[in-house]
């Protein structure tokens, strides 16, 4: 049983890391867009590379944010019945959903995502615009990376559910605010 909790904490760490990285990417993106507006309007200077950096950061925000949000139960659910299930009922729904929907979905995105990145790597793809960013494979690699961490958060969903089912813990506790969640 201890191993279950240890494992669960490990999964939580992984998603927390995503949250930190995504938050940092967001702040940088905010400053980046702001800088680009000011540079263009005040100094009449435009850098396509800086403009492209905007959507590179933006991609990191939501692709790394998805596994993070999964851990803190930030993904919207239709609660018409869900709120009425007992914690054990919720746990079964989450195990079922993670196994049937989430993990296979992440696995396929990972599988085809790596092929997608590989193509960009082999061709050494870069931006086609003047002053654009090189190494497109980096930003494309966010896709399979996101899939891996989403799968980890999906496993976390299962370990959480098992804690509820086997150790009798409560979702309210397991899910508290930003913590264990």
């Amino acid at each position: 049983m201890r191993i279950l909790v240890v494992l669960d904490k490990l999964f939580e760490r992984a998603s927390a890391l995503c949250g930190v990285l995504a938050s940092a990417a967001f702040v940088l993106m905010l400053l980046n867009v702001f800088y680009d507006v000011i540079a263009r309007y005040v100094f009449n200077s435009v850098s396509i590379g800086m403009q492209e950096l905007e959507w590179h950061l933006f991609s990191a925000v939501f692709l790394l944010g998805i596994p993070y949000a999964l851990r803190v139960d930030g993904h919207v659910r239709v609660d018409i019945f869900y709120d009425r299930w007992t914690d054990r009922g919720k746990a079964w729904i989450n195990i079922f959903g993670a196994l049937v929907f989430l993990l296979p979905f992440s696995a396929l995105i990972y599988w085809y995502g790596t092929g997608f990145v590989h193509e960009a790597w082999v061709l050494n793809e870069s931006s086609g615009d003047p002053g654009g960013l090189p190494y497109r494979f980096i930003v494309k690699a966010l896709i399979p990376t996101s899939a891996v961490f989403t799968a980890i958060s999906g496993l976390g969903m299962i370990t959480q559910a098992l804690r509820v089912l086997l150790l009798g813990e409560k979702y309210a506790h397991v899910n508290h605010q930003e913590g264990l969640a």
């Binding site: 263009r40 009449n44 200077s45 435009v46 396509i48 403009q51 492209e52 092929g115 997608f116 193509e119 960009a120 061709l123 793809e125 870069s126 931006s127 086609g128 615009d129 003047p130 002053g131 654009g132 497109r136």
Partner: protein
Amino acid sequence: NSGTPGGDTATAAKEAPKAEPAKVYTLKVAETWPANFPIFGDAVNNMAAMAEKMSNGRLKFVIDTSNKHKSPFGVFDMVKSGQYDMGHSASYYWKGKVPNTLYFTTMPFGMIASEQYAWFYYGGGMELMQKVYEPLGLLSFPGGNTGNQMGGWFRKEIKSLDDLQGLKMRIPGFAGEVMSKLGVSVTNIPAGELYTALERGTIDALEWVGPSLDLRMGFHKIAPYYYTGWHEPATELQFLVNKKKWDSLPEDLREILRVAMRTAAYDMYSQSQYESAKNWSTIQVEYPDIKVKTFPKEVLEALYKANQELLEAKAKEDPLAAEILDSQKKFLWKARRWTEISDQAYLNSMPRG
């Protein structure tokens, strides 16, 4: 190989008497354009209809627009990997992936459509194009020409090189590179915000296509100066074909496909000419305030020089690029001398009625 229409009729005739039910080959085609996109989309549909008919139904096509596959600029990858058998797009979109694909659409100060078709089919252009595409497991064929594209819509007149300094313009790709050498601030603006950006002065100018497509964007109402073209004298789209799929087709179907692509491509050039002429005559009547301008000589010469320098740098970097550019340069020189004393002389000498 350029392939001549006609092909090997002998093999086809030999096979015909066998009464087996003909095998049907279905080709999945991804186009860069959205559903119901005029002219560009018509070229694909025409090609498919012709090939189906000519092959008596042995070739079939499933054509997916960007609304279905959602990845207008993923066409290259999707045809390469075999997710689609064919694509309809433009070669210069792949410049970031394979730099040498840049040269098979159109070049600033390059050939006009009649010259470029001559280069593709008779002047060695097709062979060079396959030299770039075949190692990638792809084949590329001319896919329809838009004709000369306009230089773009400007909010203010460009009277000198100074007017270009810090001018904020949306002009993607290689032409943007040339422009930026002259001090233009080349910007990216998503298509959905272009109109607002130009209207409010976030950008000062943009280039789109030409009268056949510009009118529906409404740019003429907010940027009255319409400059004549210099950067895309003969934009040729492309049919991309997955080479494995191509090799798996029987010889006669390959020939049918080749002829259909070639016919559809030239047909799109005719259609573009027709639509642009039609739209331009409407524009002149309905919006007499549009001012058609040509850049001053000083600006054009600077653009020309910047273009030469960039091309020289590219030729130095890569022997294949050097080979392609050399072929284009030599052919252009020859063809232009003829264009000058034929079409150009004719147009210049003809009295305006």
